[in-house]
Amino acid sequence: MTDLTPVISATWGLERSWNFDTYCANGGYEGATKSLKMAPADIIQAVKDSGLRGRGGAGFPTGMKWGFLPAPDGGPRYLVVNADESEPGTCKDIPTMMNSPHTLVEGVIITSFAIGCNHAFIYVRGEVVHVYRRVMKAVQEAYDNGWLGKNIQGTGFDLDVTVHAGAGAYICGEETALLDSLEGRRGQPRLKPPFPAVSGLYARPTVVNNVESIASVPAILNKGVEWFASMGTEKSKGMGFFSLSGHIKRPGQYEAPLGITLRELLEMAGGMRDGHELKFWTPGGSSTPMFTDENLDTPLDYEGVGAAGSMLGTRALQIFDETTCVVRAVERWTEFYKHESCGKCTPCREGTYWLTQILHRLEAGHGTKADIDQLLATSDSIAGRSFCPFGDGAVASIVSSVKLFREEFERHVDEAGCPFDHAKSALFDYSTSADSLTGADSLTGADPLTDAEEANA
């Protein structure tokens, strides 16, 4: 049995855990104190040696990313923290910033010092106002206590931090879209290369890291590389959040060594809700191919999940029981991708639209078996054919669900409707009305599904 390892979450729940005083009373800013006495190159080396990999989904080695910055040329270099947490199922950075924003601020200080940055940015999604309040306050407290501003702690190092609110666009979680957005533009991904390390914010060398990656840095510098690397598996070192949601007894944030399994996590979370069993789950948010109970013992590290045909992603484990219609689940995710596609690349913009149409039709019982193959064909025209990984993510749940649950798609055709009672998936009792099943607007009587179908006919 793997034990949990609360590091970033260690102080959550303490009295005013988000305040500077509480943070300092519990070992806060010790990592920064040590780091500011080190040579920047040694900090980068330590983070490389720790094996820390990006916690925002892609898993790229963090220290290596920092090491990609070209040699200083006298011009500015930037750190941008990606706090635009929006991947469906992902809910780890928001509680981190809500409950211990100083962990992030301290990580920003250490990282900025290491890469030679004097102005860092924290790009927080706009739809979480209290989180934004807490991060702004933490930054202000850091200024008030000499941890930001000029000549930090007498070391001669200067750093300003700007906390920036987004405005509701999932795509801004993609690092180059985030940079465009931070420059005051529409958030659309850039073609890479050049990578942000060479030409990022304002075309200057820039490191973009996820909140959890940066928040992991203070503990690495404070407790040591060996301590960090003692957790996790051979190529996936350290701890990370596993965010459990769905039909389980105790959903929530479980900070554990990478390589833990769903079986272990489920045991801690009290198991599935009473009388129900696991049907499918996502290992890392809706952009990662889904798993079933076949994967209960798959080690949740980058290699283990990859070898099993999915991606560790953001460790957002959305867990669904046997009452859940997989077609309905995938239809809704696809609607999300259609809504959030930035529109820059045609396959993604047009493809997600047509996938949504087909899935609406299938879920409503108006589909044909040819539609199922069309889903796969259209998915194939999207994956790998766009600037950024959004398109790949958009089709992940479709392709994996057809592979795992094809007969369920076919039942929607054969039975001319969804074979599931949606009310049974809900956490409260209600009787399913025809309206809520088809998505008909109870006010106008308009049925978007039928309307769409007629428009297509």
């Binding site: 303490l14 519990n26 739809e127 005051g184 070898a307």
Partner: protein, 248 residues
Amino acid sequence: MTYDEKTSAKLATDAAAIMARYPVKRSGLLPMLHLVQSVDGHVSPDGIQFCAEQLGLTAAEISAVATFYTQYKRRPNGEYQVGVCTNTLCAVMGGDEIWRQVSERIGIGHDETNEDGTITLERLECNAACDYAPVMMVNWEFFDNMTPKKALTLVDDILAGKDIKPSRGADTVASFKEVSRVLAGFPDGRADEDQGVGEATLAGVEFAKHGAPAATLPAAAKAAPAAAKAAPAAAKAAPTAKSGRGKK
């Protein structure tokens, strides 16, 4: 522009403060659009013109940005932006039914505002609180573990002009305009207001400490600052899993 002199002067002062946060002033556009919403309740033509003048861009360039982001409203918004998450997880766990009942009660659909301008209703995409599904948001504060009954009470309270309290967040939900001003980067001094951490947030922390569910424990969490020390003890890191490991 039709802003009166006082409003214009205040907007200009605030816009200058926003632009000063960035090495390149155009970076201030997103917060500036939030600022405009804090005055007009939406991104008005005046607001677009104002941003254009501040940044030396055309109104078309500002509009192009404003229309990209869903939080910028093109019509006067209600005082309360009420959102029901209908992304997959929340929808499946009851969000669809909550949406249906809320929409019926207020009598409006997605992205519509009721007649007296109290509520603008929205089908939300994932708001990063999946461990509290089904979730609603009001003016971007969290309302966790919702049921139709709780949702209807919430909506009725808003319609009756009562103050409403989020599950995790400030003591009361601020107005749409007030929240927009915070998002423009002007703190309202409410960061210390606290409705509690939430059970799901602490699920792992509590399990690590006691090996038992948070729900069955006394509220001792706030008293024990020793939590930080519990971490390295668990570093043995040898999961009992069998499949797919050690592949090279």
